[in-house]
Symmetry: C2
Subunit: 253 residues, 2 copies
Amino acid sequence: MSAKRAPDADPARSLALLWSSHSRPGRSGLTVRAIIEAAIGIADTEGLDAVSMRQVAERLGVGTMSLYTHVPGKAELTDLMVDTAYGRLYDDVDAPAAQPGGWRGGMEFVAARNWDLYRRHPWMLQAPGGRPVLGPNAVLKYEAELRPLDGVGLSDVEMDSVLALVLTHVEGTARLGASMARAQQDSGMNETEWWTVNAPLLDKVMDASRFPVASRVGEAAGREHQGAADPAHALAFGLARILDGVAALIAGR
Amino acid sequence: MSAKRAPDADPARSLALLWSSHSRPGRSGLTVRAIIEAAIGIADTEGLDAVSMRQVAERLGVGTMSLYTHVPGKAELTDLMVDTAYGRLYDDVDAPAAQPGGWRGGMEFVAARNWDLYRRHPWMLQAPGGRPVLGPNAVLKYEAELRPLDGVGLSDVEMDSVLALVLTHVEGTARLGASMARAQQDSGMNETEWWTVNAPLLDKVMDASRFPVASRVGEAAGREHQGAADPAHALAFGLARILDGVAALIAGR
DNA sequence: ACGTCGTACCGTACAGCGTACGGAACAGTT
DNA sequence: AACTGTTCCGTACGCTGTACGGTACGACGT
Protein backbone atom coordinates (compact mmCIF):
# COMPACT_ATOMS: atom_id res chain seq x y z
CA MET A 1 0.00 0.00 0.00
CA SER A 2 2.56 2.55 -1.06
CA ALA A 3 1.81 6.22 -1.67
CA LYS A 4 3.03 6.14 -5.27
CA ARG A 5 -0.42 6.00 -6.77
CA ALA A 6 -0.98 9.74 -6.78
CA PRO A 7 2.21 11.43 -7.95
CA ASP A 8 1.54 14.69 -6.15
CA ALA A 9 4.33 17.00 -5.22
CA ASP A 10 5.93 16.53 -1.84
CA PRO A 11 4.97 19.84 -0.23
CA ALA A 12 7.98 20.02 2.03
CA ARG A 13 10.42 19.41 -0.83
CA SER A 14 8.58 21.98 -2.93
CA LEU A 15 8.65 24.49 -0.13
CA ALA A 16 12.37 24.14 0.40
CA LEU A 17 13.08 24.45 -3.30
CA LEU A 18 10.74 27.38 -3.79
CA TRP A 19 12.45 29.45 -1.16
CA SER A 20 16.02 28.39 -1.91
CA SER A 21 18.31 30.69 -3.81
CA HIS A 22 18.46 28.64 -7.02
CA SER A 23 22.24 29.14 -7.22
CA ARG A 24 24.21 27.43 -9.95
CA PRO A 25 26.02 24.53 -8.36
CA GLY A 26 26.63 22.42 -11.45
CA ARG A 27 29.63 22.05 -13.67
CA SER A 28 27.54 22.04 -16.84
CA GLY A 29 25.85 25.31 -15.93
CA LEU A 30 22.54 23.58 -15.34
CA THR A 31 20.33 25.51 -12.97
CA VAL A 32 16.96 25.09 -11.35
CA ARG A 33 16.04 28.45 -12.82
CA ALA A 34 17.00 27.32 -16.34
CA ILE A 35 14.99 24.12 -15.97
CA ILE A 36 11.93 26.06 -14.88
CA GLU A 37 12.33 28.52 -17.74
CA ALA A 38 12.69 25.76 -20.33
CA ALA A 39 9.62 23.99 -18.99
CA ILE A 40 7.57 27.19 -19.08
CA GLY A 41 8.73 27.84 -22.62
CA ILE A 42 7.47 24.46 -23.75
CA ALA A 43 4.22 24.80 -21.80
CA ASP A 44 3.50 28.23 -23.26
CA THR A 45 3.84 27.11 -26.85
CA GLU A 46 2.81 23.46 -26.77
CA GLY A 47 0.75 23.02 -23.62
CA LEU A 48 1.47 21.29 -20.34
CA ASP A 49 1.10 17.83 -21.88
CA ALA A 50 4.15 18.49 -24.01
CA VAL A 51 6.27 19.22 -20.96
CA SER A 52 8.02 15.92 -20.39
CA MET A 53 11.29 15.50 -18.59
CA ARG A 54 12.84 14.32 -21.86
CA GLN A 55 11.61 17.36 -23.76
CA VAL A 56 12.87 19.76 -21.11
CA ALA A 57 16.25 18.05 -21.04
CA GLU A 58 16.54 18.09 -24.82
CA ARG A 59 15.77 21.80 -24.95
CA LEU A 60 18.59 22.34 -22.46
CA GLY A 61 20.99 20.04 -24.28
CA VAL A 62 21.33 17.82 -21.28
CA GLY A 63 20.70 14.22 -20.31
CA THR A 64 17.21 13.53 -19.09
CA MET A 65 18.25 12.19 -15.74
CA SER A 66 20.42 15.19 -15.00
CA LEU A 67 17.30 17.16 -14.24
CA TYR A 68 16.73 15.00 -11.20
CA THR A 69 19.89 16.34 -9.66
CA HIS A 70 18.24 19.74 -9.39
CA VAL A 71 14.55 18.93 -9.11
CA PRO A 72 12.95 16.06 -7.17
CA GLY A 73 10.41 15.23 -9.86
CA LYS A 74 7.91 16.52 -12.29
CA ALA A 75 5.24 17.46 -9.75
CA GLU A 76 7.63 19.71 -7.87
CA LEU A 77 8.79 21.22 -11.17
CA THR A 78 5.20 22.14 -11.91
CA ASP A 79 4.95 23.89 -8.56
CA LEU A 80 8.05 25.87 -9.42
CA MET A 81 6.62 26.80 -12.81
CA VAL A 82 3.46 28.13 -11.23
CA ASP A 83 5.23 30.24 -8.65
CA THR A 84 7.55 31.63 -11.31
CA ALA A 85 4.58 32.65 -13.44
CA TYR A 86 3.06 34.40 -10.43
CA GLY A 87 6.19 36.49 -10.28
CA ARG A 88 5.26 38.22 -13.52
CA LEU A 89 1.91 39.48 -12.30
CA TYR A 90 2.80 42.78 -10.66
CA ASP A 91 5.80 45.02 -11.05
CA ASP A 92 5.10 46.55 -7.67
CA VAL A 93 3.46 45.22 -4.51
CA ASP A 94 1.38 48.34 -4.42
CA ALA A 95 0.18 48.21 -8.02
CA PRO A 96 -3.34 46.99 -7.18
CA ALA A 97 -3.75 49.35 -4.22
CA ALA A 98 -2.48 52.29 -6.28
CA GLN A 99 -5.24 51.82 -8.80
CA PRO A 100 -7.95 54.49 -9.00
CA GLY A 101 -11.48 53.58 -7.98
CA GLY A 102 -10.80 52.49 -4.42
CA TRP A 103 -11.13 48.86 -3.41
CA ARG A 104 -13.40 48.19 -6.37
CA GLY A 105 -10.92 49.56 -8.86
CA GLY A 106 -8.25 47.54 -7.13
CA MET A 107 -10.19 44.30 -7.43
CA GLU A 108 -10.98 44.99 -11.07
CA PHE A 109 -7.29 45.48 -11.68
CA VAL A 110 -6.50 42.25 -9.87
CA ALA A 111 -9.07 40.40 -11.93
CA ALA A 112 -7.76 41.83 -15.20
CA ARG A 113 -4.16 40.95 -14.36
CA ASN A 114 -5.00 37.40 -13.37
CA TRP A 115 -7.10 37.03 -16.50
CA ASP A 116 -4.16 38.12 -18.62
CA LEU A 117 -1.89 35.75 -16.76
CA TYR A 118 -4.12 32.79 -17.55
CA ARG A 119 -4.49 33.89 -21.13
CA ARG A 120 -0.72 34.00 -21.57
CA HIS A 121 -0.11 30.80 -19.62
CA PRO A 122 -3.16 28.57 -20.09
CA TRP A 123 -1.16 25.59 -18.84
CA MET A 124 -1.54 26.97 -15.32
CA LEU A 125 -5.15 25.85 -15.48
CA GLN A 126 -4.17 22.30 -16.37
CA ALA A 127 -1.67 21.99 -13.53
CA PRO A 128 -3.00 19.32 -11.20
CA GLY A 129 -3.78 20.90 -7.86
CA GLY A 130 -2.25 19.37 -4.83
CA ARG A 131 -1.69 21.69 -1.90
CA PRO A 132 -1.59 25.31 -3.12
CA VAL A 133 1.86 26.53 -4.01
CA LEU A 134 2.97 28.99 -1.31
CA GLY A 135 6.20 30.08 -2.92
CA PRO A 136 7.69 33.54 -2.53
CA ASN A 137 5.86 34.94 -5.54
CA ALA A 138 2.55 33.49 -4.41
CA VAL A 139 2.96 35.19 -1.06
CA LEU A 140 3.87 38.47 -2.73
CA LYS A 141 0.80 38.12 -4.93
CA TYR A 142 -1.36 37.54 -1.88
CA GLU A 143 0.03 40.64 -0.21
CA ALA A 144 -0.42 42.80 -3.31
CA GLU A 145 -3.97 41.65 -3.88
CA LEU A 146 -5.06 42.06 -0.27
CA ARG A 147 -3.85 45.64 0.06
CA PRO A 148 -6.72 47.30 -1.85
CA LEU A 149 -9.11 45.64 0.59
CA ASP A 150 -7.34 46.87 3.71
CA GLY A 151 -9.14 49.47 5.77
CA VAL A 152 -12.35 49.56 3.76
CA GLY A 153 -14.55 48.14 6.49
CA LEU A 154 -13.97 44.42 6.07
CA SER A 155 -12.69 42.14 8.78
CA ASP A 156 -9.47 40.29 8.17
CA VAL A 157 -11.29 37.06 7.49
CA GLU A 158 -13.65 38.83 5.11
CA MET A 159 -10.73 40.33 3.20
CA ASP A 160 -9.42 36.84 2.59
CA SER A 161 -12.85 35.59 1.59
CA VAL A 162 -13.49 38.43 -0.86
CA LEU A 163 -10.15 37.99 -2.54
CA ALA A 164 -10.65 34.24 -2.81
CA LEU A 165 -14.07 34.83 -4.32
CA VAL A 166 -12.72 37.15 -7.01
CA LEU A 167 -9.79 34.87 -7.83
CA THR A 168 -11.98 31.79 -8.02
CA HIS A 169 -14.25 33.59 -10.45
CA VAL A 170 -11.41 34.68 -12.69
CA GLU A 171 -9.86 31.23 -12.66
CA GLY A 172 -13.15 29.60 -13.52
CA THR A 173 -13.93 31.85 -16.46
CA ALA A 174 -10.33 31.63 -17.64
CA ARG A 175 -10.63 27.86 -17.57
CA LEU A 176 -13.70 28.12 -19.74
CA GLY A 177 -11.86 30.41 -22.14
CA ALA A 178 -8.86 28.12 -22.33
CA SER A 179 -10.92 25.05 -23.06
CA MET A 180 -12.83 26.86 -25.78
CA ALA A 181 -9.62 28.14 -27.34
CA ARG A 182 -8.17 24.65 -27.21
CA ALA A 183 -11.26 23.07 -28.74
CA GLN A 184 -11.26 25.68 -31.47
CA GLN A 185 -7.60 25.15 -32.16
CA ASP A 186 -7.62 21.42 -32.65
CA SER A 187 -10.94 21.19 -34.41
CA GLY A 188 -9.94 23.92 -36.83
CA MET A 189 -13.38 25.46 -36.53
CA ASN A 190 -14.38 28.49 -34.52
CA GLU A 191 -17.46 28.44 -32.35
CA THR A 192 -19.95 29.63 -34.94
CA GLU A 193 -18.67 27.26 -37.59
CA TRP A 194 -18.85 24.33 -35.24
CA TRP A 195 -22.40 25.16 -34.29
CA THR A 196 -23.67 25.56 -37.81
CA VAL A 197 -22.13 22.18 -38.63
CA ASN A 198 -23.42 20.32 -35.59
CA ALA A 199 -26.71 22.09 -34.96
CA PRO A 200 -28.73 19.88 -37.35
CA LEU A 201 -27.53 16.74 -35.59
CA LEU A 202 -28.43 18.17 -32.23
CA ASP A 203 -31.82 19.39 -33.39
CA LYS A 204 -32.65 15.98 -34.76
CA VAL A 205 -31.68 14.10 -31.65
CA MET A 206 -32.87 16.46 -28.95
CA ASP A 207 -36.51 17.30 -28.68
CA ALA A 208 -36.68 21.05 -28.05
CA SER A 209 -40.17 20.83 -26.58
CA ARG A 210 -38.84 18.79 -23.69
CA PHE A 211 -36.47 21.63 -22.82
CA PRO A 212 -38.45 24.80 -23.42
CA VAL A 213 -36.48 27.13 -21.18
CA ALA A 214 -33.12 25.68 -22.11
CA SER A 215 -33.73 25.94 -25.83
CA ARG A 216 -35.09 29.47 -25.60
CA VAL A 217 -32.32 30.75 -23.34
CA GLY A 218 -29.63 28.75 -25.08
CA GLU A 219 -30.58 30.20 -28.41
CA ALA A 220 -30.66 33.76 -27.09
CA ALA A 221 -27.32 33.37 -25.36
CA GLY A 222 -25.81 31.66 -28.37
CA ARG A 223 -26.87 34.50 -30.64
CA GLU A 224 -25.61 37.15 -28.24
CA HIS A 225 -22.24 35.48 -27.67
CA GLN A 226 -21.74 34.06 -31.13
CA GLY A 227 -21.07 30.68 -29.61
CA ALA A 228 -21.92 28.45 -26.67
CA ALA A 229 -20.34 30.84 -24.21
CA ASP A 230 -18.36 34.05 -24.10
CA PRO A 231 -15.64 33.92 -21.45
CA ALA A 232 -14.87 37.63 -21.57
CA HIS A 233 -18.52 38.47 -21.03
CA ALA A 234 -18.79 35.92 -18.24
CA LEU A 235 -15.78 37.50 -16.54
CA ALA A 236 -17.20 41.03 -16.71
CA PHE A 237 -20.76 40.11 -15.80
CA GLY A 238 -19.75 37.92 -12.89
CA LEU A 239 -17.21 40.37 -11.54
CA ALA A 240 -19.80 43.17 -11.58
CA ARG A 241 -22.32 41.05 -9.63
CA ILE A 242 -19.67 39.91 -7.16
CA LEU A 243 -18.38 43.40 -6.48
CA ASP A 244 -21.95 44.67 -6.10
CA GLY A 245 -22.48 41.98 -3.50
CA VAL A 246 -19.30 42.94 -1.69
CA ALA A 247 -20.31 46.60 -1.78
CA ALA A 248 -23.60 45.65 -0.16
CA LEU A 249 -21.71 43.79 2.54
CA ILE A 250 -19.53 46.81 3.24
CA ALA A 251 -22.45 49.25 3.14
CA GLY A 252 -24.55 47.11 5.47
CA ARG A 253 -22.50 47.92 8.52
CA MET B 1 2.11 18.66 -37.97
CA SER B 2 -0.65 16.26 -37.11
CA ALA B 3 -3.44 16.93 -34.63
CA LYS B 4 -2.42 14.01 -32.43
CA ARG B 5 -0.57 16.18 -29.95
CA ALA B 6 -3.60 17.03 -27.87
CA PRO B 7 -5.71 13.92 -27.40
CA ASP B 8 -8.95 15.78 -26.92
CA ALA B 9 -12.26 14.12 -27.58
CA ASP B 10 -13.65 14.36 -31.08
CA PRO B 11 -16.81 16.39 -30.34
CA ALA B 12 -18.84 14.94 -33.18
CA ARG B 13 -18.08 11.34 -32.15
CA SER B 14 -18.84 12.19 -28.55
CA LEU B 15 -22.11 13.83 -29.53
CA ALA B 16 -23.27 10.85 -31.52
CA LEU B 17 -22.37 8.44 -28.74
CA LEU B 18 -23.91 10.58 -26.02
CA TRP B 19 -27.27 10.64 -27.72
CA SER B 20 -27.29 7.07 -29.00
CA SER B 21 -29.33 4.42 -27.25
CA HIS B 22 -26.41 2.47 -25.79
CA SER B 23 -28.06 -0.81 -26.79
CA ARG B 24 -26.23 -4.07 -26.30
CA PRO B 25 -24.94 -5.15 -29.67
CA GLY B 26 -22.20 -7.50 -28.53
CA ARG B 27 -22.10 -11.23 -28.11
CA SER B 28 -20.17 -11.01 -24.82
CA GLY B 29 -22.75 -8.69 -23.30
CA LEU B 30 -20.34 -5.77 -23.34
CA THR B 31 -22.15 -2.44 -23.41
CA VAL B 32 -21.23 1.21 -23.61
CA ARG B 33 -23.24 1.68 -20.45
CA ALA B 34 -21.27 -1.02 -18.64
CA ILE B 35 -17.97 0.49 -19.73
CA ILE B 36 -19.02 3.90 -18.44
CA GLU B 37 -20.19 2.44 -15.15
CA ALA B 38 -16.96 0.52 -14.63
CA ALA B 39 -14.90 3.60 -15.40
CA ILE B 40 -16.92 5.71 -12.97
CA GLY B 41 -16.54 3.05 -10.32
CA ILE B 42 -12.77 3.16 -10.62
CA ALA B 43 -12.69 6.96 -10.74
CA ASP B 44 -14.86 7.29 -7.63
CA THR B 45 -12.67 5.07 -5.50
CA GLU B 46 -9.19 5.55 -6.96
CA GLY B 47 -9.29 8.82 -8.88
CA LEU B 48 -9.28 9.62 -12.56
CA ASP B 49 -5.60 8.75 -12.92
CA ALA B 50 -6.41 5.15 -12.07
CA VAL B 51 -8.91 4.93 -14.93
CA SER B 52 -6.87 3.29 -17.66
CA MET B 53 -8.31 1.33 -20.51
CA ARG B 54 -6.61 -1.79 -19.14
CA GLN B 55 -8.07 -1.28 -15.68
CA VAL B 56 -11.56 -0.76 -17.05
CA ALA B 57 -11.27 -3.85 -19.24
CA GLU B 58 -9.97 -5.96 -16.38
CA ARG B 59 -12.88 -4.91 -14.14
CA LEU B 60 -15.23 -6.04 -16.89
CA GLY B 61 -13.36 -9.30 -17.52
CA VAL B 62 -12.73 -8.35 -21.09
CA GLY B 63 -9.76 -7.79 -23.38
CA THR B 64 -8.44 -4.26 -23.36
CA MET B 65 -8.92 -3.66 -27.05
CA SER B 66 -12.52 -4.80 -26.94
CA LEU B 67 -13.42 -1.50 -25.38
CA TYR B 68 -12.53 0.21 -28.62
CA THR B 69 -15.35 -1.59 -30.36
CA HIS B 70 -17.80 0.43 -28.28
CA VAL B 71 -15.94 3.62 -27.50
CA PRO B 72 -13.67 5.62 -29.82
CA GLY B 73 -11.07 6.37 -27.16
CA LYS B 74 -10.42 7.49 -23.67
CA ALA B 75 -11.28 11.15 -24.18
CA GLU B 76 -14.75 10.29 -25.43
CA LEU B 77 -15.18 7.85 -22.56
CA THR B 78 -14.46 10.69 -20.16
CA ASP B 79 -17.16 12.79 -21.83
CA LEU B 80 -19.59 9.93 -21.35
CA MET B 81 -18.62 9.58 -17.70
CA VAL B 82 -19.29 13.26 -17.07
CA ASP B 83 -22.68 13.26 -18.73
CA THR B 84 -23.66 10.13 -16.85
CA ALA B 85 -22.71 11.74 -13.55
CA TYR B 86 -24.85 14.76 -14.46
CA GLY B 87 -27.77 12.39 -14.73
CA ARG B 88 -27.71 11.79 -10.99
CA LEU B 89 -28.14 15.43 -10.04
CA TYR B 90 -31.92 15.87 -10.02
CA ASP B 91 -34.71 13.38 -9.75
CA ASP B 92 -37.06 15.81 -11.41
CA VAL B 93 -36.55 18.63 -13.91
CA ASP B 94 -38.56 20.86 -11.65
CA ALA B 95 -36.68 20.11 -8.45
CA PRO B 96 -34.76 23.40 -8.38
CA ALA B 97 -37.78 25.49 -9.37
CA ALA B 98 -39.96 23.74 -6.80
CA GLN B 99 -37.66 24.81 -4.00
CA PRO B 100 -38.97 27.38 -1.52
CA GLY B 101 -37.40 30.82 -1.42
CA GLY B 102 -38.02 31.85 -5.01
CA TRP B 103 -35.15 32.19 -7.45
CA ARG B 104 -32.70 32.62 -4.60
CA GLY B 105 -33.77 29.42 -2.93
CA GLY B 106 -33.58 27.72 -6.30
CA MET B 107 -30.03 28.85 -6.91
CA GLU B 108 -28.98 27.81 -3.42
CA PHE B 109 -30.43 24.39 -4.09
CA VAL B 110 -28.59 24.20 -7.41
CA ALA B 111 -25.34 25.18 -5.74
CA ALA B 112 -25.79 22.62 -2.97
CA ARG B 113 -26.56 19.83 -5.41
CA ASN B 114 -23.59 20.61 -7.63
CA TRP B 115 -21.39 20.83 -4.56
CA ASP B 116 -22.54 17.39 -3.48
CA LEU B 117 -21.95 16.06 -6.96
CA TYR B 118 -18.34 17.22 -6.95
CA ARG B 119 -17.82 15.90 -3.46
CA ARG B 120 -19.03 12.47 -4.50
CA HIS B 121 -17.22 12.51 -7.84
CA PRO B 122 -14.08 14.63 -7.42
CA TRP B 123 -12.65 13.16 -10.61
CA MET B 124 -15.03 15.39 -12.55
CA LEU B 125 -12.79 18.29 -11.60
CA GLN B 126 -9.73 16.57 -13.02
CA ALA B 127 -11.38 15.80 -16.34
CA PRO B 128 -9.50 17.75 -19.00
CA GLY B 129 -11.87 20.26 -20.53
CA GLY B 130 -12.23 20.30 -24.26
CA ARG B 131 -15.51 21.52 -25.62
CA PRO B 132 -18.19 21.24 -22.88
CA VAL B 133 -20.10 17.99 -22.90
CA LEU B 134 -23.60 18.68 -24.24
CA GLY B 135 -25.02 15.24 -23.68
CA PRO B 136 -28.66 14.57 -22.83
CA ASN B 137 -28.12 14.82 -19.10
CA ALA B 138 -26.16 18.04 -19.44
CA VAL B 139 -29.04 19.56 -21.38
CA LEU B 140 -31.54 18.35 -18.80
CA LYS B 141 -29.38 19.85 -16.08
CA TYR B 142 -29.29 23.15 -17.94
CA GLU B 143 -33.08 23.16 -18.25
CA ALA B 144 -33.62 22.28 -14.60
CA GLU B 145 -31.20 24.92 -13.38
CA LEU B 146 -32.56 27.67 -15.58
CA ARG B 147 -36.16 27.23 -14.53
CA PRO B 148 -35.92 28.97 -11.14
CA LEU B 149 -34.59 32.02 -12.96
CA ASP B 150 -37.42 32.18 -15.46
CA GLY B 151 -39.84 35.09 -15.11
CA VAL B 152 -38.07 36.87 -12.28
CA GLY B 153 -37.12 39.93 -14.27
CA LEU B 154 -33.97 38.77 -16.00
CA SER B 155 -33.46 38.73 -19.75
CA ASP B 156 -32.72 35.41 -21.40
CA VAL B 157 -29.06 36.26 -21.75
CA GLU B 158 -28.90 37.34 -18.12
CA MET B 159 -30.44 34.06 -17.01
CA ASP B 160 -27.65 32.22 -18.75
CA SER B 161 -25.03 34.52 -17.26
CA VAL B 162 -26.33 34.21 -13.72
CA LEU B 163 -26.45 30.44 -13.88
CA ALA B 164 -22.95 30.28 -15.33
CA LEU B 165 -21.73 32.56 -12.56
CA VAL B 166 -23.16 30.36 -9.82
CA LEU B 167 -21.89 27.16 -11.40
CA THR B 168 -18.42 28.57 -11.93
CA HIS B 169 -18.28 29.55 -8.30
CA VAL B 170 -19.33 26.13 -7.08
CA GLU B 171 -16.91 24.38 -9.37
CA GLY B 172 -14.05 26.61 -8.27
CA THR B 173 -14.63 26.10 -4.56
CA ALA B 174 -15.20 22.39 -5.10
CA ARG B 175 -11.87 22.21 -6.90
CA LEU B 176 -10.25 23.83 -3.91
CA GLY B 177 -11.93 21.35 -1.61
CA ALA B 178 -10.90 18.39 -3.72
CA SER B 179 -7.27 19.43 -3.88
CA MET B 180 -7.17 19.95 -0.13
CA ALA B 181 -8.76 16.58 0.52
CA ARG B 182 -6.30 14.96 -1.85
CA ALA B 183 -3.32 16.68 -0.29
CA GLN B 184 -4.51 15.67 3.15
CA GLN B 185 -5.04 12.10 2.06
CA ASP B 186 -1.64 11.42 0.59
CA SER B 187 0.35 13.37 3.12
CA GLY B 188 -1.42 11.67 6.00
CA MET B 189 -1.69 14.99 7.82
CA ASN B 190 -4.71 17.20 8.13
CA GLU B 191 -4.43 20.94 7.57
CA THR B 192 -3.65 21.96 11.13
CA GLU B 193 -1.04 19.23 11.54
CA TRP B 194 0.66 20.19 8.33
CA TRP B 195 0.79 23.82 9.32
CA THR B 196 2.22 23.22 12.76
CA VAL B 197 4.91 21.09 11.16
CA ASN B 198 5.80 23.47 8.35
CA ALA B 199 5.16 26.84 9.98
CA PRO B 200 8.64 27.12 11.50
CA LEU B 201 10.27 26.55 8.13
CA LEU B 202 8.07 29.19 6.52
CA ASP B 203 8.63 31.66 9.32
CA LYS B 204 12.37 31.28 9.02
CA VAL B 205 12.48 31.79 5.30
CA MET B 206 9.81 34.41 4.80
CA ASP B 207 10.20 37.78 6.40
CA ALA B 208 6.78 38.67 7.81
CA SER B 209 7.59 42.37 7.88
CA ARG B 210 7.81 42.41 4.09
CA PHE B 211 4.23 41.14 3.92
CA PRO B 212 2.38 42.95 6.69
CA VAL B 213 -1.14 42.62 5.34
CA ALA B 214 -0.67 39.08 4.07
CA SER B 215 0.73 37.83 7.35
CA ARG B 216 -1.95 39.54 9.44
CA VAL B 217 -4.85 38.42 7.24
CA GLY B 218 -3.37 35.01 6.60
CA GLU B 219 -3.03 34.37 10.29
CA ALA B 220 -6.58 35.52 11.03
CA ALA B 221 -8.03 33.43 8.22
CA GLY B 222 -5.90 30.45 9.19
CA ARG B 223 -7.13 30.62 12.76
CA GLU B 224 -10.76 31.01 11.69
CA HIS B 225 -10.67 28.20 9.16
CA GLN B 226 -8.30 25.87 10.98
CA GLY B 227 -6.19 25.64 7.86
CA ALA B 228 -5.10 27.56 4.79
CA ALA B 229 -8.63 27.68 3.45
CA ASP B 230 -12.12 26.44 4.19
CA PRO B 231 -13.93 25.38 1.01
CA ALA B 232 -17.34 25.11 2.65
CA HIS B 233 -17.04 28.62 4.03
CA ALA B 234 -15.81 29.92 0.67
CA LEU B 235 -18.83 28.35 -1.01
CA ALA B 236 -21.31 29.92 1.41
CA PHE B 237 -19.67 33.33 1.58
CA GLY B 238 -19.23 33.61 -2.17
CA LEU B 239 -22.71 32.40 -2.95
CA ALA B 240 -24.22 34.95 -0.58
CA ARG B 241 -22.28 37.82 -2.21
CA ILE B 242 -23.14 36.61 -5.70
CA LEU B 243 -26.84 36.27 -5.01
CA ASP B 244 -26.86 39.68 -3.32
CA GLY B 245 -25.36 41.10 -6.49
CA VAL B 246 -27.94 39.37 -8.63
CA ALA B 247 -30.71 40.64 -6.37
CA ALA B 248 -29.40 44.17 -6.87
CA LEU B 249 -29.46 43.64 -10.63
CA ILE B 250 -33.06 42.48 -10.50
CA ALA B 251 -34.14 45.25 -8.12
CA GLY B 252 -32.47 47.94 -10.20
CA ARG B 253 -35.02 47.76 -12.99
C1' DA C 1 -28.15 -27.39 -43.97
C1' DC C 2 -24.55 -24.77 -45.52
C1' DG C 3 -21.57 -21.19 -47.33
C1' DT C 4 -20.79 -16.17 -46.83
C1' DC C 5 -20.25 -11.92 -44.88
C1' DG C 6 -20.12 -8.38 -41.36
C1' DT C 7 -18.51 -7.36 -37.07
C1' DA C 8 -17.24 -8.23 -32.16
C1' DC C 9 -13.38 -9.57 -29.78
C1' DC C 10 -8.64 -9.23 -28.57
C1' DG C 11 -3.18 -10.44 -28.78
C1' DT C 12 0.71 -8.19 -30.12
C1' DA C 13 3.44 -4.26 -30.73
C1' DC C 14 5.02 0.59 -30.60
C1' DA C 15 6.06 5.03 -29.03
C1' DG C 16 6.08 7.73 -25.15
C1' DC C 17 5.87 8.67 -20.13
C1' DG C 18 8.20 9.24 -15.03
C1' DT C 19 11.87 7.69 -12.63
C1' DA C 20 14.95 3.92 -9.85
C1' DC C 21 19.45 2.47 -10.12
C1' DG C 22 24.30 2.38 -10.68
C1' DG C 23 28.40 3.71 -13.08
C1' DA C 24 31.45 7.42 -14.87
C1' DA C 25 33.55 11.84 -14.63
C1' DC C 26 34.81 15.77 -12.55
C1' DA C 27 35.82 19.46 -8.35
C1' DG C 28 37.71 20.37 -4.08
C1' DT C 29 40.26 19.03 0.06
C1' DT C 30 43.88 16.93 2.24
C1' DA D 1 48.62 12.53 -5.80
C1' DA D 2 44.96 10.20 -3.57
C1' DC D 3 40.55 10.45 -1.66
C1' DT D 4 35.77 12.04 -1.25
C1' DG D 5 31.57 13.95 -2.59
C1' DT D 6 28.72 15.60 -6.05
C1' DT D 7 27.09 16.04 -10.79
C1' DC D 8 25.93 14.00 -14.89
C1' DC D 9 23.53 10.52 -17.46
C1' DG D 10 22.73 5.57 -20.00
C1' DT D 11 19.95 1.82 -19.26
C1' DA D 12 15.93 -0.37 -17.86
C1' DC D 13 11.18 -1.13 -15.84
C1' DG D 14 6.48 -0.72 -15.61
C1' DC D 15 2.98 1.97 -17.07
C1' DT D 16 0.05 4.55 -20.60
C1' DG D 17 -3.20 5.00 -25.15
C1' DT D 18 -4.05 2.84 -29.24
C1' DA D 19 -2.90 1.12 -34.47
C1' DC D 20 -3.08 -3.06 -36.76
C1' DG D 21 -4.37 -7.54 -38.13
C1' DG D 22 -6.12 -12.06 -37.08
C1' DT D 23 -9.83 -15.02 -35.27
C1' DA D 24 -14.24 -16.55 -34.37
C1' DC D 25 -18.96 -15.99 -33.94
C1' DG D 26 -24.09 -14.56 -35.32
C1' DA D 27 -27.12 -13.80 -38.84
C1' DC D 28 -28.72 -14.22 -43.25
C1' DG D 29 -29.38 -15.88 -48.30
C1' DT D 30 -29.79 -19.86 -50.76
